[in-house]
């Protein structure tokens, strides 16, 4: 149950929507196609399902060619399950009849019924077998749609923005359940989403797309911590951006000297770092949210290192710690967003820096509080100015 896509290209009239797309999905793997709307991710999903005609390239399921130009297997023969954004349940059939729908070719009616009930049980909807879809809530409809798509035991599951029609609280619950159901069936899954958090939640791997190209492929951690360009960096979170210039193969910033790999001297660059890379020290309470460190220890390690630096007993260079003023703080779920102003020391012609820091606790600070700010150099990304 694996999927292989080779060099797909697709155009709608003069507009190229997919360009040289190749990817692979292994059995039991959940891969998320992530990107802004109009990046071609849904087209790619529809090509796999056979709802769109392939123009260039090849699609293989289990080493069997299911689509190449002018030789397309009909969508109903491909053995793909498709979960639609609007669920597309059949309104004139009950939940059970909906679920039995894809089992038409199979053996006896009793067997089909048993299989459909199994699938409904998997999504915890067996009590609603005799109900019509319009009587169900959005979340229940989504679960029935999932059961319906899974009942025929598809070789590949395709999910098209399956949670975007659900309200926020329900979404978290339903996608958790969906993930576990998919993982328990072990089906290779491709899911389309525009929401990076959803992709990180659901995906073993993320394929980030932009304007018909694959920009970066990798685990959620790889994409988040090692973005290949500014687009990837900004797609996953709000970022702090400052400008700089490459001098002697490196960029000088207030936070330290960062190597500018392969960028020519004199070129203008964007220096990006995420708000949660910024740690803030206020008197005796140090706050940080360094990634890449184990959760309970991470907090302590980071704060200790910051306070050590502050006391000047550390070997680390002092320029990594910067004085800043708190402009305001905002409490967010699970974190506090601190707006910071870093005053410029007169000689520079740049205006004061405005930074955001996302620190992991409830830590309101009054305006004008003097704090010290630290950003680890490995979490600062330098890209050519766009």
């Amino acid at each position: 149950m694996s999927l292989l896509i080779e060099t797909i290209r697709h155009t709608f009239g003069p507009k190229t929507v997919l360009q040289d797309i190749s990817l692979q999905v292994a059995s039991g793997e959940v891969v998320c196609l992530l990107g802004p709307s109009g990046c071609g991710k849904t087209t790619l999903l529809r090509l796999i399902a056979g709802l769109e005609e392939l123009q260039h390239g090849r699609i293989l399921i289990d080493d069997q060619v299911i689509a190449e130009p002018r030789r397309q297997m009909l969508p109903e023969r491909r053995g793909t399950g498709f979960l639609f954004q609007d669920f597309a349940l059949f309104p004139h059939l009950t939940v059970l009849e909906n679920t039995m729908f894809g089992l038409a070719q199979r053996s006896s009616k009793a067997e089909r019924r048993a299989k459909a009930l199994d699938a409904l049980e998997q999504v915890d909807m067996q009590d609603y077998a005799a109900v019509y879809p319009h009587e169900l809530s959005g979340g229940q409809q989504q679960r029935v749609a999932l059961a319906r798509a899974l009942a025929p035991s598809p070789r590949i599951m395709l999910l098209d923005e399956p949670f975007s029609n659900l309200d926020t609280r329900l979404r978290a619950q339903i996608r958790d359940q969906t993930l576990h159901v998919l993982k328990s069936t072990g089906v290779a899954t491709v899911m389309v989403t525009h929401d990076p958090e959803e992709a990180m939640f659901m995906g073993d791997r993320i394929i980030l797309m932009h304007q018909g190209h694959i920009v970066q492929t990798g685990s959620p951690a790889e994409l988040y911590a090692h973005p290949v360009n500014a687009f990837v960096t900004t797609f996953f979170s709000d970022v702090n951006a400052i400008s700089g210039t490459v001098e002697a193969g490196a960029v000088q910033t207030k936070f330290g000297t960062i190597k500018a790999h392969g960028l020519p001297d004199g070129s203008a660059v964007d220096i990006l770092f995420r708000p949660d890379a910024v740690s803030v020290r206020n008197g005796h309470c140090a706050l940080s949210s360094h990634r890449g460190e184990a959760a309970p220890n991470g907090y302590r390690t980071a704060s200790e290192s910051v306070s050590n630096i502050a006391e000047g007993r550390d070997e680390r260079p002092l320029e990594n710690l910067i004085e800043a003023d708190v402009l305001t703080t905002r409490l967010l779920p699970g974190a506090t967003l601190v707006h910071l102003r870093i005053p410029v020391n007169g000689q520079s012609d740049t205006p004061d820096l405005h930074l955001h820091a996302r620190v992991p606790c409830v830590s309101p600070m009054p305006e004008g509080t003097k704090v010290q700010v630290h950003v680890p150099l490995d979490q600062i990304y330098v890209f050519p100015k766009s």
């Binding site: 399902a49 009909l74 109903e76 639609f84 597309a88 059949f90 004139h92 729908f101 038409a104 395709l158």
Partner: protein, 270 residues
């Protein structure tokens, strides 16, 4: 109906709209006066007492249907058969028009345009005098064919609208669940479309009953033709045509009410 339960609201309605009712009564009175004066002017003598025997009669053989009711049965036969055929023509044409095949689309489009842009009477004559002899169709067969082709063209537009109104996702969902195009039509699209188009489709049935009167022109003894014969036999022109009109009304009006009621239910069900 539960008239007792609704009577208070009806009385309130009557009181609130007394001026409308007054005006309506005046209008009816004017029409009655117009007919009465016309009758006096032409020296017409009403002979309603002679009408019942043309509807139903008691003889030594028991109850025997008069010519008008016999005609009504023929009208029902023509309309019923034509309705079934019209639905088949209509659905087939609609599916042809939505097919991927250029030929099928062209054939369907040509049929619909030809039928809708020529008079029904001409079509009936054409089929009776030209097609009929070639294929050995009698008058009844010709009438049924002409009417069903005619109404089928209109029904096809209704079917098409119904099919197109079904969301594209339903097609895709059916395909992704392993259904062929044919099965998708049969099990997903048509059942849903049928619900939506039942009211306009029933409207086609009403039209069909009325249009069947044109079959009288090719010597079919249906209601209108019977009326024609009775009125020229007896010279009771007013009584006969009033009666014939009333019979048509008695059939089509409840049907129209049913259609309206169905339409209302469909809207609330959606």
């Amino acid at each position: 109906m539960n008239s007792r339960a609704t009577s208070p609201t009806f009385v309130r309605f009557l009181v609130a709209h007394y001026r409308d009712f007054l005006l309506y009564g005046l209008l009816l009175g004017a029409v009655a006066w117009f007919i009465a004066s016309g009758e006096q002017g032409t020296g017409y003598h009403w002979k309603w007492y002679r009408m019942p025997r043309y509807l139903i009669q008691f003889t030594e053989d028991g109850w025997v249907l008069g010519p008008l009711l016999q005609g009504l049965i023929v009208t029902f036969k023509i309309s019923g058969l034509s309705l079934i055929l019209a639905m088949i023509f209509g659905l087939t044409t609609a599916i042809f028009r939505l097919s991927d095949s250029f030929t099928a689309r062209l054939v369907a489009k040509g049929y619909v345009e030809f039928i809708r842009n020529t008079p029904l009477l001409t079509q009936i004559f054409f089929i009776y005098y030209v097609i009929g002899p070639v294929f050995g169709l009698d008058a009844f067969g010709s009438a049924v064919l002409a009417l069903s082709l005619f109404e089928g063209a209109y029904a096809s537009e209704i079917f098409r609208a119904g099919i197109v109104s079904i969301h594209k996702g339903q097609w895709e969902a059916a395909y992704s669940l392993g259904l062929s195009r044919q099965d998708t039509y049969r099990r997903v699209i048509i059942p849903q479309a049928l619900r939506r188009i039942l009211p306009p489709l029933a409207g086609v049935g009403v039209t069909l009953i009325k249009d069947s009167s044109l079959a009288s022109t090719i010597a079919i003894y249906e209601l209108t033709q019977r009326g024609n014969i009775v009125s020229s036999d007896t010279f009771m022109v007013f009584e006969v045509w009033f009666t014939v009109a009333a019979i048509y009304l008695a059939i089509t009006f409840p049907l129209s009410l049913l259609v309206a009621e169905m339409g209302k239910r469909m809207r609330t069900a959606d």
